[in-house]
Symmetry: D2
Subunit: 409 residues, 4 copies
Amino acid sequence: MSDIKKVVLAYSGGLDTSVILKWLQDVYQCEVVTFTADLGQNEELEPARAKALKLGIKPENIHIEDLCEEFVRDYVFPMFRANAVYEGEYLLGTSIARPLIAKRMVEIAKQTGAQAVCHGATGKGNDQVRFELGAYALNPNIKIIAPWREWDLLSREKLLAYAEKHGIPIEMKHKQGGSPYSMDANMLHISYEGRHLEDPSAEAEASMWRWTVSPEAAPDKAEYVDLEFAKGDLVAINGERMSADKLLRKLNELGGKHGIGRLDLVENRYVGMKSRGCYETPGGTILLKAHRAMESITLDREVAHLKDDLMPRYASLIYNGYWWAPERIALQALIDHTQQNVNGWVRLKLYKGNVVVVGRDSKTDSLFDPTIATFEDDAGAFDQKDAGGFIKLNALRMRIAANHRARKG
Amino acid sequence: MSDIKKVVLAYSGGLDTSVILKWLQDVYQCEVVTFTADLGQNEELEPARAKALKLGIKPENIHIEDLCEEFVRDYVFPMFRANAVYEGEYLLGTSIARPLIAKRMVEIAKQTGAQAVCHGATGKGNDQVRFELGAYALNPNIKIIAPWREWDLLSREKLLAYAEKHGIPIEMKHKQGGSPYSMDANMLHISYEGRHLEDPSAEAEASMWRWTVSPEAAPDKAEYVDLEFAKGDLVAINGERMSADKLLRKLNELGGKHGIGRLDLVENRYVGMKSRGCYETPGGTILLKAHRAMESITLDREVAHLKDDLMPRYASLIYNGYWWAPERIALQALIDHTQQNVNGWVRLKLYKGNVVVVGRDSKTDSLFDPTIATFEDDAGAFDQKDAGGFIKLNALRMRIAANHRARKG
Amino acid sequence: MSDIKKVVLAYSGGLDTSVILKWLQDVYQCEVVTFTADLGQNEELEPARAKALKLGIKPENIHIEDLCEEFVRDYVFPMFRANAVYEGEYLLGTSIARPLIAKRMVEIAKQTGAQAVCHGATGKGNDQVRFELGAYALNPNIKIIAPWREWDLLSREKLLAYAEKHGIPIEMKHKQGGSPYSMDANMLHISYEGRHLEDPSAEAEASMWRWTVSPEAAPDKAEYVDLEFAKGDLVAINGERMSADKLLRKLNELGGKHGIGRLDLVENRYVGMKSRGCYETPGGTILLKAHRAMESITLDREVAHLKDDLMPRYASLIYNGYWWAPERIALQALIDHTQQNVNGWVRLKLYKGNVVVVGRDSKTDSLFDPTIATFEDDAGAFDQKDAGGFIKLNALRMRIAANHRARKG
Amino acid sequence: MSDIKKVVLAYSGGLDTSVILKWLQDVYQCEVVTFTADLGQNEELEPARAKALKLGIKPENIHIEDLCEEFVRDYVFPMFRANAVYEGEYLLGTSIARPLIAKRMVEIAKQTGAQAVCHGATGKGNDQVRFELGAYALNPNIKIIAPWREWDLLSREKLLAYAEKHGIPIEMKHKQGGSPYSMDANMLHISYEGRHLEDPSAEAEASMWRWTVSPEAAPDKAEYVDLEFAKGDLVAINGERMSADKLLRKLNELGGKHGIGRLDLVENRYVGMKSRGCYETPGGTILLKAHRAMESITLDREVAHLKDDLMPRYASLIYNGYWWAPERIALQALIDHTQQNVNGWVRLKLYKGNVVVVGRDSKTDSLFDPTIATFEDDAGAFDQKDAGGFIKLNALRMRIAANHRARKG
């Protein structure tokens, strides 16, 4: 361990990472660089600076960064081009933030001459994998410190005792047990795990949800919203063009207001167990629905089906932490290639938890051809007789087989 | 054409198939056997008998059958085992009824000595393909008559004129133009296409929907419902075991009441064009959500992912009319094999268009292991140190590549 | 038909397309533009000019083009980047030439103001589909004339009679029945179908094969050859850099000499029937083996597996005629993306039908890391203890399931 | 460790596993049960008994079993039904033996009351994963001892010193350095890794190969052989029905004689590195070729393509050690389902490394229909006009898109 002189710690300013900070100083006897990222989790980050200073971190070693725009533009939006959903339900809100944090940690390590990076993710979860696969892919020689896999502070009592002993400020909420949930948030979503949720047969408590109102409490009047897309990415809401960051914030506001994007599921972790999680993804839920609708009139059928066939694989790659792996990048090349014509607008109706597509159009790229699709007289645009041959040849192999079976008796 | 002496006609009793009936008698000069199936479309079928008699069909040539139980048990339920959704949205309500109709037509043809079958599906749509691929797969030598691809009655005016000339009763609604939509219904869904919907940018009219109330008009109070599954199939609702037919009717009732299952989309037809359709699938929407939740605690991760990877292909097969094809049957063998442990119950909350999973459990087959999943002390059930090696080896290929890139410079 | 004033005919100069030429003049009463492509089929093309002139084609309407370099560079090589093989065996020699012919026909039609294109492919085969899908994709309004689906000259006797009647020169070989096989050739392969081969239980006649010697007749001494790749494409043989065209000619020469690349198989045609074909693909067989070996040390594992998973789909697209379809192009974007590091060389031993890889290396891009792979002491490059955790977590879901089964009894 | 009283050791009788045996007695101080399996590796197994006795194993603790028939029937044949090939080349000879060994180890542990199993596979390879995933899947609570990941005998010198010190007989070959290769054999194949092969650019030494003659040394005269299949499995050679075991032995004999089945490749291990291996799979190479040919006339096209699409995944599962995983078993259900009609015979020509299919037929299940496939007059079996509509509708989406592009300009 003596070869680690400096370490970059992903530091939230909370109790757990403050304990880790202290523990690194004690056990590894190394200089600690803190890295605190604003990913839109709706938390004040300056207190993290004050706390880091108090714990003896040099001012120049404290890195607090606003990554919101980069996060949405370079991670969230590319993922939504793929309509990525894990196991049919989960919108990958936690998963997609990890690669960016891993990247910045490795970059800050390089910049500050640190040999190692350190994170506060548990040894049972997916996040450790996502952080570390990302870090290794970007710097194969980086050292990684994962305290939860190393130390013996495995109970809350031990952690609090350690904090007390080392003069780490403990807020009242931690003394009282704090939130009953293990939570994670960024601009795409907030997640809840643990405690009450560990019984998958029990309904989540109404008080748990933080970002959305319940459908019951949402407005009684529906709201219409127009989303505009360019090359598969959202570019404007109700005619107003905004940065990626602002667009997602706006969608979150709309979704939160209308009770949209709550999810309660049991998922399969990469490390092998099933786990129950609850999520709020208000803006993402709206965006996914709209993007699919946008594609429905602008993508060729077989391209859309190819994307659908590959989507679960792509989603698993992100869930499992392979954002920086060459196979994710290769799939992204295909996905991005398909989005060049995904331009136009989608109209949605938001109402008490529902996101309903009510209209979609593309001035430049619609493949919907009303002269062919019509149930009215199409003036010869489509020769119905063609269907006879189409069916006959598609049936041929089955007819040969059926004839064979008949002969066989 | 002289080799067709007798033909089985898929007969609804409506104007179109009545015109076809007459046209077959005229043009093919053959005996017509009518086949009218009750698939839960919520229509009286006895009028079809009266009308057929009036059009000169012999009583013994009129076949009216209640296929509801067979439909749900042998077609709808097997499809839901696969969580089949076409193009991310469509629950395949029309598609799944066609194979059963094709099968009964071929069987009745055999039983009555008919050489041909005839249907009233348009030459532009998917249904002709589904009927005919099914018929050919089951009887490779059957003749198929598809009047819309043969005759010249391509406008509504010509059709009405033909009807009038041949004494086919025309109801007032047809004279007035009838429904503005082309509709299809069976116990799984009702669909709307055409007219106003041919502009995909325009919202569907509120008056169009028939099976569900709007979310706005749904009760202000949520309703909880418990669904019980055995081998992947729904077997009981709120503790009451019922036949497949009754179960789906009950789900439809619940969904209809709570404004669940409306869908407005643009889909890609097998014959090559995009088409806009609106659907109400109240019970199916509930069932799909519940089945996925049931699988979430009873299916192995990799089995679930295998199913997810194959699902779009399976759904396309059904959409395109390949129910009776050997590849659909091979996939079904895999899917059915996976369902043996899909036993337990799911609790749902229904509220104004929302189907929310709030709990799930399986006394016999839950793979959710709280002793391992817990965020609390797990008493050694999971050794967090294992994760280090897991990550290291999964990262190895990326580290080798990164080292290589670094050397390459 | 009167709207077709000019038609571009894919003209080989042989009997069949000469009859078609005449038939077009007679039946369509239109001006005929002939297009004869040199794709490396090893045939003199100037006789086609003389024959066309004799049949009344204006000199300026005769197009004879050497497409060899374009064919190999833009069609064969991109396909080999994917390691495309149809149904586990067939190297797609015929399939890959059709898109280029279709493209040139459409371009010549545009350039000459022709409304239609015409080909001599049978109505039972794949080639008609490939020509026509290509033509339609490139010019949706082109008219296509497929005489074999229109005329009644369906027997060889009728064809000869027509030729005789219209003064089309009939070579002796045709009078004597000609080759017993239906053949197609281009620089990638030569194919044989029909006659004797229509009994798939019977061995092909030794006299049939034209491009390769039999393994028995090949040299008794093996020959070593070094192939060099850049970005997945062959660029040099035995150190000599050549154009794509020359490289494939050289491989064909080597393969032909050593009895390499004969194939006898039953394949599934897109139009629905099984068909028996024999193929000689001497150069392609060598190239495929070498390309796979090149990738084996330069491609990441998961990228290689992704390519393997997608390959059958890509191959089917080409077989079925979808070269110009957007889904093929999207897949190609992924495939080409993966090839940037496929650089290096492969050493092969050629001997009596065998292509044996005996060595491969990449100075710039080898991911083979001997310090890790070694069975000897690796000085800590790989920590074997990591494997324990790797296995434990990969086994976890199966252990949970097994424990569950045990409890269930 | 004190909870391990008894351990089942996979014991070959060679130096390595003898050292392990001793080491277990020393370090774990437990009773050792030896398990030696005859999988057709062509080695005398009785010496293993003598050696075990000499090392203090009780006679009743020595298990030597002939598993040849079970191996071929229940592992090799099911795998060949899938045409499984890893990374386009490797026939999975080592991989497929591991699940059976794992199963027997777990069964013997249960029968003898052992708490643990132990194997001699290195911590860098695939075999440890295969053994252990199998063992865990079959008994989730089994303890596994992997000495190579635990001890410090990591060099050959240390191993020999340990053996000498503990009185383990060292054969002359080990003193002289032994084989230059790390080898594994069973009835399906023999493999070579390490030493000279660790340079993938260097040709394997001619003296390495043991089971096959070189093509050069093979007979100058080809040999024909007829293979008969029932439900996808080989059942007879040249008309002689034999047990699975005998059939594969016979194929190995034929392949070995004719220089068939040598392979030299670089593969991607599950643990993350590339590795160079050479393989001889004489019988398997013949069997794979024949099985594909058998399927070519008996399998429906889309079923065959479904199998091809899934094959790489199935092969990876076996390569990675997931034979006993539920997803492999689910895939097997599909694969076995498809094999019911794979009945008939295939004729092969074996000559100097070449396996050439020259004929195939199935009296009961051929889907090859000569009346349709024929190039001659088919008397209306296939209406060529049908192809027009088939192509038109398949082209429709591309024509709509092309028209759109043209309008867009």
